[in-house]
């Protein structure tokens, strides 16, 4: 469904942040894209969805196709119309607007009455809490509710592929589970998912395939269960992000090593 081939991205004409990455999302799949902070995950998302320009980024090499059509450098509105929606890092809801208006803004490309109604009902079904708070100003929602709204807003576009950028960021463990379950449900309803995460445990537990990025390169990919068992993955991701664990000396050491590994 989505293929990214040998993608190279440069910011401000000088900073090379993606050094030829490739990835693939098949029909109906959940694919996890993992990587530490600064690995280039968000940049990958921006490249796919046409939002590099505001960040002075350019695709200098490679090709992105969606359902066989090339979308490298296509306009974001075109890409959304073709069926790729995103849930941005940090939620980025329209805080001054009501929940309903956020959803209407999300439905800009899907505004005919029937399409809108179907998507709206789907969102309300998935998020009963949003239904209760329909006319509340989005900025007053709790963090978890805001994440639900961000996901709901993307669903209003009736996407064929949904890309989520760190949806578990800053959420309590219970809410992380809730988000994970929602992603599974969305996928079961027929939407493919590219799940960008630092929380490898969460992402790999539901993914059909996993990729691991490191400073602009794919360093590993494969079956999620295998990745979960991989020593390097365990060391770099699971230890750091397993919830509830107290920081031990080992973790501190991890942290130092991770920093070295990043630089």
């Amino acid at each position: 469904m989505l293929t990214v081939e040998n993608l190279e991205v440069v910011y401000n004409d000088v900073v090379l942040v993606l050094r030829g990455i490739s990835l693939e999302v098949g029909d109906g799949q959940i694919v996890a894209l993992l990587g530490a902070n600064g690995a280039g995950k968000t940049t990958t998302l921006r490249s796919i969805t046409g939002l590099l320009d505001v960040h002075e980024g350019d695709i200098t090499k490679g090709e992105i196709t969606f359902k066989g059509d090339e979308i490298t450098e296509a306009l974001p509105s075109k890409i959304v119309e073709m069926g790729i929606s995103q849930v941005m890092e940090g939620r980025r809801i329209f805080a001054e607007m009501t929940v309903d208006d956020n959803l209407r803004a999300g439905a800009y490309v899907n505004s005919n009455r029937a399409g809108y109604k179907a998507s709206y009902d789907r969102v309300m079904g998935l998020f009963p809490r949003l239904k209760e708070r329909r006319s509340a100003t989005a900025g007053y929602l709790s963090g978890g509710e805001q994440q639900m709204l961000a996901i709901g807003r993307a669903l209003m576009q009736d996407p064929k592929l949904m890309i989520l950028d760190e949806p578990s960021l800053g959420l309590a463990p219970l809410l992380v589970q809730e988000v994970r379950d929602i992603i599974v449900q969305i996928n079961e309803q027929g939407t493919a998912v590219l799940l960008i995460e630092q929380n490898a445990n969460m992402a790999l537990s539901i993914a059909h395939h996993g990729y691991i990025m490191e400073t602009g390169k794919m360093v590993m990919d494969g079956d999620p269960q295998k990745l979960l068992k991989d020593d390097d993955v365990k060391e770099f991701y699971l230890g750091l992000h397993a919830s509830g664990e107290k920081k031990s000396f080992r973790d501190v050491k991890h942290y130092k090593r991770r920093k070295r590994w990043l630089s």
Binding site: T49, L51, R92
Partner: protein
């Protein structure tokens, strides 16, 4: 202030006709400022552009009405038997459509390439636009004021203590209609897209919202509101002689209204416009005469700026503005 002076003020304020006349004047001025301020703020909110060509657009709008109604006789020439007010209203509608198209074209040509540049750099571009549009318009206007050919003239009707010009009634109806339409627009698909874009442009684009279309729409709305203001500036009781090369500057008097309301609030612009209009009208009816000679003759014209400074000292981001806007 001496006790004498207070007595004089009390007497003057208690003259019902004088007070009522001030209200009419305030509605007239305040309505014009509000039209200008709301358009300016809609453009700023949606596109992050401080449009210093707003006054030029107002004058251009008035000029278009003058030339459609009195020179080209459009649409009058196609409907020779229609009453004068019908062809004049037709001319106004065509002028507003032309203003909308011109606003969209200006944005597309001069400002779209500047997307992402510093606020200041973009404002400089609009200053350039102001010079271009104003000079072309003034060239077309020529040395003499051009009357708009309206059917109202200086006719008035008496209502109790006050004399109300028909233009002011019309203006009020038009302004209320404009406000209602804008409120309605903000609830439409495009209006929601505009609010989303104003709040977070990148997030709006991520939803598939065509930000370019939002920009065009906001400029069309801003230009139409400016043109409406320009028309009422060029009618009785403001300038019954019509549109002239100073019309564009009149619009600068709306800047205090924008600042008072808060640069990024449409409601603030509306309220700010009315406050400034009434303050100016009040000053020109009450702060005159021998007791106030020390203020000089043009004091009413300074009142908006004084008010602006007071508001800025108390609330640096305006009455309705959000705090972050201070970065501007």
């Amino acid at each position: 202030m001496t006790p004498d002076l207070l007595v004089v003020i009390a007497q003057e304020a208690s003259t019902p006709s004088k007070f009522a006349q001030m209200v009419v004047d305030g509605v007239n001025l305040g309505g014009i400022y509000a039209l200008l301020a709301v358009g300016f703020v809609i453009i700023f909110r949606a596109t992050q552009v401080l449009n210093f060509a707003h006054g030029a657009l107002a004058a251009l709008g008035a000029f278009l009405v003058a030339s459609f109604a009195t020179v080209l006789d459009i649409p009058g020439r196609w409907i020779p038997n229609a009453p004068a007010w019908v062809s004049w209203t037709g001319a106004v509608f065509l002028a507003l459509i032309a203003a909308a198209l011109i606003g969209m074209a200006l944005e597309r040509v001069f400002l779209r390439p500047m997307v992402g540049e510093e606020l200041f750099a973009v404002a400089i571009v609009t200053l350039g636009m102001d010079i271009v549009v104003r000079n072309i318009t003034n060239d077309w206007i020529g040395p003499q004021p051009r009357p708009l050919g309206d059917p109202f003239g200086i006719s008035v009707f008496d209502l109790g203590w006050v004399r109300i010009p028909y233009t002011v009634v019309t203006q009020t109806v038009v302004a209320l209609l404009a406000v209602a339409l804008i409120a309605y627009f903000f609830r439409s698909r495009m209006g929601v897209a505009m609010r989303a874009t104003a709040f977070d442009q990148e997030a709006a684009r991520a939803q598939g919202i065509s930000v370019g279309r939002v920009f065009s729409t906001s400029w069309a709305i801003g230009a139409v509101l400016a043109a409406l203001a320009g028309i009422f500036i060029s009618l009785f009781p403001r300038r019954s002689t019509g549109v002239d090369p100073t019309t564009a500057f009149f619009a600068f008097r709306a800047f205090p209204a924008i600042i008072i309301g808060g640069l990024d609030s449409v409601v603030g612009a509306l309220v700010g416009g009315l406050i400034v209009g009434f303050a100016e009208a009040g000053a020109s009816s009450y702060l005159v005469g021998e007791n106030w000679e020390f203020l000089g003759t043009g004091f009413a014209g300074i009142v908006p700026y004084l008010l602006m400074m007071v508001v800025l000292i108390i609330r640096p981001y305006g009455l309705f503005g959000t705090e972050e806007i201070r970065r501007v």
